[in-house]
Structures are given as structure tokens and as C-alpha cells.
Amino acid sequence: MKRTIFSNQLLPWLLLAPQLAITFIFFLWPAGQAIKQSFLREDAFGINSSFVGLANFTALLDSPEYLNSLKVTAVFAISVTVVSMGVALLLAVAVDRMLKSSRTYTTLLVWPYAVAPAVAGILWWFIFNPTVGVMPYVLEVIGYDWNHISSKTDAMILVVIASAWKQISYNFLFFVAGLQAIPASMREAAAIDGAGPVRRFFDITFPLLSPTTFFLLVVNIVYSMFETFAVIDATTEGGPAQATNIMVYKVYFDGFIGQNLGSSAAQSVILMLIVISLTVIQFRWVEKKVEY
């Protein structure tokens, strides 16, 4: 790495300023506001607020609705991550074995990533719409009565598919790159060593992909906890009966619809802590098992 020595003390700060400004305005400041707000309670008209200590937090942890949201978030985040990474890996392995037309295939598979989450949500909402959607019609043929408006399971499946679908493209690109970085001779050596295709994948390819897998694990969990807000909002709005009310959606709903800013702020602080600690855990423990 080249080291540049600035003779002027001001210039480096000037160059950093745009990034620092973005971090400050869009992350540090709101996060600070949220932390401050989480200790306050506002009156019904938003005129006065009073300091209530940890009351917002204790109220949350006593609330069955909030505990439900925690559980829903866990199920949702794990499902989205497993589905999007699993499907992406499968597609990437297929492309890696392909000689012809793998470029076209790759290009087509990347398109969904360009679709905005809200649009993706609406798209899947139409496909699975119990009255006009094509999937319920197909499912009815095989004897399944799909209705995500009344069935909690169906609703969860819908939001998982809609959220995972978009992320598959992203994961796919990384997996393809990861696979291509594994020397062909490694797999050839394994083939000569008597390992069949499945064995080769699990003994050689998958362990060698682990840096990519680890990176995607972090990205996908953070994605499913934060960036899926638009998908939920466009499809189920957290329903039915709180079945898809993940934490980030509840933050929005309680704060902006329910106008309970103190509780909403406390929730976002908890969410922030969860994601920070998850990432720390992943880097501390999972990374040690990763073969670089």
C-alpha cells in the first residue's frame, strides 16, 4: 500500500468530509436521536416529553406482542438467509458447470437485483394473490388452499420468498466469483482421488467457498433484518395477526402509525444492538473456522 504524507493538515479532513457527513447525518445523528428518544415519553399531542428511564425497554420486554415480533424476526431472518443463499449456491454451481451460454444465464439471473424491494413485494403479492394470482391457482390443482391473508404460515412463506428472491441475484454473483476462484486442478485432483461430484462438492468446493459464504451470511442477515421493510409493507403489513410483523416493521408501525415514539425508539435501539452483536459474534467465532 502506498502511504501518502499530507503536508497540509486540513486537506485529508476535507477529502474525508463527504463520507463523514453522510455517516453523521444518516447514521450517527439518527442513532443518537433514537437513543435519546428511547428514554423519553411523549404526551398524546407531541408537545411535552418526560424522562422515564428504562421504562420503555421494560414495557417492551413485558409485551407479548414484542416477544412475538422477536420470534417472527428470527424465523424470517433465518429462512430468508437459508433460502436465498441455498438457491443462489445451487444456481452458481449450475453455471460453473456450464460451458456455453453461461454469460446469458448469469446476466438474466442478476436482473432481480435491480428491482426495488417494494416492487418485488408487490410482484409476489400479485403472483400469490388468493383471488387473481397464478400461484394459488396452481397450488389448488395440487390440493393446497393458499391464502396469505388469513393463514399465518402462508403469509410468512410469501414474505420470505419475496425477500429472498431479490437477494438470490446478489448472492449468486458472489458465489459464481467464489467458484471461479477455485482452481480447476483442485477438483480434478479430487476426481482422480476417487471423489464423485457430490463428495467433491462437500469435501472440496464448499470448504473452499467458505470465505464467500461467511461474507454473504453477514450481509444476508443484516439485509433480512433491516432492508425488508418495503417488502413487508407492500405485501402483508405485518399481518395476519402479527405473523409477519418483524422488528423493523414494528419500529415503523408503532412509531409512525401508532405514534408511540418512545417505544419505537427503544425498539430500534434493541434492533441495533442485536445486529451489532450478531455481526460481532459472526466475526469472532465463525470467521475462525473459515479457510482463507
Partner: protein
């Protein structure tokens, strides 16, 4: 242990490019065969066809009495050493060595025995619990060989195994491979672009050019009687002088042949010699010197002892039996 037979072996890629054609060869049990040629001559493709990593489009490969054209690499009873070693980076050296045996359902005790034996032969016993990245190039090379040895296969296939090592290590490992093969007497097929490696290792060497076999023979046969100008120029260092006969009209036999070949070491300074050489440059190698120059417009290189007197013009002569004659058009050797 087995013989290998290549019968009219050829490879044409789907685009129509011919990588290898008409290779006929009988490799005896325990023989060390070196495939040598410039890059792109098809030597690696040929090896990979024997290994089963490349499909065979023409002819047959037989290992022992069995035609293996469509047999999976794993079932051909061969072991291969790759140029980049292809060690599994996430496995310890022991696991690397044991992997092939484990896949074949060898018993634990037998695996341990064979791995320890191979480690002993290759002196890698103290590295068995390390990962490949903690090893030097030479040590990795040994592990790659160990992985081949433990399998006790019918044949070893080497794909330029020494080309990633530095010059000194390469010479040392070359010797070790030679000794190892003597000891194990396993049929070996070895690919290299380095003619020195080919000369020193081979029982017989196969010189390839443009996917075709130019010559098959023992190193000395090939050195003494190169079958074509290509072989003459490729085997031997410094390369044989290939001179149009009109540039050396006073040499015996030069009237008939199109191209005369003379090895640099076969040319001697002789005040009455028939060749007059204008010296252009001298390379000092210590034990000898390489003198480059030209005669009648044809390039000429000779090797001289380090004490020889140098002048701007040298007169040279060569023994009649040291002259090689080649056809000008086909480049083939004339009797």
C-alpha cells in the same frame, strides 16, 4: 503396475481445432516416459487424456489390457501430480495424503501405514499435521508426490511438476523423482517443456510438435540422431546449429543436403578448417564459453574451453560423423 498403450490417439476440440493427432506408443511396465515439446504442442492434453480429465475423440488408451477411453479418472488406477500441486488447502498434509484412500474405503490402519510410509520416503513426516500453506514450495511438491505414492497406482502422471520451483530446487527434485521412480518401478508419464528435465529423467522421451509426435527414443538416440530439424533445435543446449548447406559449401556431403546440423560442441577451432566464422558475441559460462557469430550469413554458435584464444575471425572444422543432414522442405532427417 501396468503398461500403457496409446493407439492412434487424437483429440479434436468441438470447434474443430486439432490438439493431438495420431499418437501411437507402447509404454512398458515400469518405464519412465517424458513428453516434451514447446508450449501448445499438445503434451498436457495428451497426458490429461490418459488421466481421463480430457475426453478422447480418436483412437484408444489402454492401461494394462483394459481400454479406458470412457472410464472415470478415479477408476483408471492412475495418480497425477499437478503443476500447481493442487493440494487441498483446508486439509492437513495427512488428510491430503489420505483423501484418495479414504474415498476408496481403505481401512484406517492401512491408511495410517501407507501415509507414514510415504512420509518416510519423502521426508515429510514432521509436516503431517500442517496445512499446505505453511509449507515451502519444495515441501508442497513432496506432499503432491506423496499423494500419488500412497495410492500405489498402476501409473504416475506428472504435469510439469517442477516448473513452479526455483532453479536450484528443480535440479534437486529432478534427481529425487528419478530415484523414487527407480525404487518404486511404477510406470510414469511426465510432461515438461524443459529439454534438460526430459533428457535427465526419461527412459524414453517423446518429442511433440503441433500435436504430432516428432520422435520417440531414448535420450541419447534423440540427441545423437534427431529425426527432424525441430527435434535437433529443441533437444540439446545450446541448440544445434542448423545451417543452409550453401553457407557451408566445403563441408562433406553439403552438396546434397538442404540443411546441415552441427552441435556447437562438435565444432572445433582449426586453422585449416573449412568454415570461417565472424565472431559477434561471447558468453562466458566459467567452465566454457559460448561464441556466437555467423558464416556466409548463417548464424553459428560454438562452445569452446575457457582458455581458447579468441579472434574476430575463427576457422572451424567438424568431424564428418558429427554432421546431421536434413531435407530443406520437410525438415526430416536424411539417412
Amino acid at each position: 503396475m501396468a503398461s500403457i498403450t496409446l493407439d492412434n490417439l487424437g483429440k479434436v476440440y468441438p470447434g474443430g481445432t486439432r490438439a493431438v493427432g495420431d499418437v501411437n506408443m507402447q509404454i512398458a511396465d515400469g518405464e519412465f516416459i517424458v513428453l516434451v515439446g514447446p508450449s501448445g504442442c499438445g503434451k498436457s492434453t495428451l497426458l490429461r487424456m490418459v488421466a481421463g480429465l480430457e475426453s478422447i475423440t480418436e483412437g484408444e488408451v489402454r492401461i494394462g489390457d483394459r481400454v479406458v477411453n470412457t472410464v472415470e479418472p478415479a477408476d483408471r488406477d492412475i495418480a497425477m501430480v499437478f503443476q500447481n500441486y493442487a493440494l487441498y488447502p483446508h486439509m492437513s498434509v495427512r488428510q491430503n495424503l489420505a483423501y484418495g484412500l479414504k474415498n476408496r474405503g481403505t481401512s484406517k490402519a492401512e491408511i495410517t501405514r501407507r501415509v507414514d510410509e510415504a512420509a518416510e520416503i519423502l521426508q515429510i513426516g514432521q509436516f503431517l499435521d500442517r496445512k499446505p500453506r505453511a509449507l515451502s514450495g519444495g515441501q508442497r511438491q513432496r506432499v503432491a508426490m506423496g499423494r500419488a505414492i500412497v495410492r500405489e497406482p498402476a501409473a504416475f502422471l506428472f504435469d510439469e511438476p517442477l516448473s513452479n520451483l526455483d532453479a536450484k530446487l528443480r535440479v534437486a527434485m529432478r534427481l529425487e523423482i528419478k530415484e523414487l521412480q527407480r525404487r518404486l518401478r511404477t510406470t510414469s508419464l511426465y510432461v515438461t517443456h524443459d529439454q534438460l528435465e526430459a533428457m535427465t529423467l526419461a527412459d524414453r522421451l517423446v518429442v511433440l510438435n503441433g500435436g504430432q509426435v516428432e520422435q520417440i527414443g531414448t535420450p541419447l538416440e534423440v540427441y545423437r540422431n534427431p529425426a527432424s530439424t525441430f527435434v535437433a533445435g529443441f533437444i540439446g543446449s545450446p541448440a544445434m546449429n542448423l545451417i543452409p548447406s550453401r553457407a557451408v559449401p566445403h563441408l562433406p556431403g553439403s552438396a546434397h543436403a538442404g540443411i546441415i546440423g552441427i552441435r556447437p560442441e562438435d565444432l572445433a577451432v582449426d586453422p585449416d578448417g573449412p568454415i570461417e566464422m565472424q565472431v559477434r558475441a561471447v558468453e562466458e559460462l566459467g567452465a566454457q564459453r559460448l561464441v556466437h557469430g555467423h558464416t556466409n550469413g548463417a548464424d553459428l554458435t560454438i562452445t569452446l574451453g575457457s582458455h581458447a584464444d579468441l579472434h574476430d575471425t575463427l576457422r572451424l572444422s567438424a568431424q564428418p560423423e558429427a554432421l546431421h543432414r536434413f531435407d530443406e522442405k520437410t525438415g526430416k532427417r536424411l539417412a
